[in-house]
Amino acid sequence: MITITYFGSLKLLQPLGTETLDWQGGTTDDLLSLLRGRGPDWAQALRPERVFKLALNQQLLHAAAPIHDGDEVAILPPVTGG
């Protein structure tokens, strides 16, 4: 089981902002493909240029990384602070 947190506009996909998912192993790229396969709105919202960064267990990632059972993955859309 892994936990996924959605930030910013990605909350429109998952109004609770978070979900848990059974996880059989794989990388962050595998997770994004799986989520994009949920339907056109998911594919549209998570298209590569829309995903700013992913964080694994509160560490921002700069490349795909393996996700292990119990991990927390956060999906960050492009940022709009300041």
Binding site: A55, A74, V79, G81
Partner: protein
Amino acid sequence: MFSVCIQTEPIAGNRLQDPGRDDCGAEVRFVGKVRNDQKEAPLGHLVLEHFPGVTEAEIERIIGQARARWPLQKARVVHRVGRINVGEDIVVVETASAHRRDAYEANAFIMDYLKTEAPFWKQECFTDGGELWVEARHSDQQAAERWQGAVRGGAAAPCEHHHRIGALILAGGEGRRMGYRNKGLQPLRGRPLAQYVADALRPHVDYLAISANRDLADYEALGFPVFPDDPRFGVGGPLAGILSALPRFPLDLDALMVAPCDCPLLPADLVPRLAAALFMPGGPPAVMAATEVSIHPSIFMCRPGMLVSLIPHVQEHADHRLRGWLKNSGCEVVRFEDAGAFSNINDLQALQALQS
């Protein structure tokens, strides 16, 4: 005088005074506010979301980058989250330096990177009840990109494929042969020795810090973070300095560069040449500087992964010199022509000889 604060409360109007310093010639305060630009309906308020822990760390990293580029005495970021009404402040960035140009540029740099790198998301809430997540702007991205390769002093971009390098100047020794004077602060033609080393490294690195154990305020005045030895690594010498400083470095570096504070004549191509050897395909985990006549283990660059072996090394070996650890780790040498460039100033006599 370097801080990050993310808060739901309104940002106080008063700037933070620092009565401890009198060498601060310029202070810049930027305030970002919620404006009503009447896009679809009058804007009622914004709701700002952030990623607790990660956002703070990211802003600290941006401040660290600014400090590696400009000699700052202060950099303070206060960012509001939650509900913010039209006309209220969203963000305050304060920078201070000896001179106005550094304070202005560092302030703009921090703000440009904050807008494109720090995890915040804005939702506009209109008076008619509508809500809209704000889209990222291309112009903000361009504003941040203008800094890439723009290092203070107008030096060229470090290299085309940019590797992020963090540098540590070792100034933690007791200066025994210098009569226990703090070596890095000894003046050579009016400037401290450590300043020469910083000037050689800074154009080529993304982050620069100093490891020192005495006269910390004097080292901080050079404008870089200063980290004293952590007593947990009470092994003394350069390895303790590296172990103590590393946890404070940004996390996403591709390499660590280390140089001692007492080599004021380092060649300008030191960092680019070490980086080229380290990052070539199949390159070694570490490289050190050498000349025809000697090797210089205290001037080296390594990949971050190699540092994992440092704690076991200091636990298992009585010899805490850099040479032993680097040798065990498969470090290779990069030879430089000019043997004089690596002269280290060990005593007052050597310093005197250079003054003329």
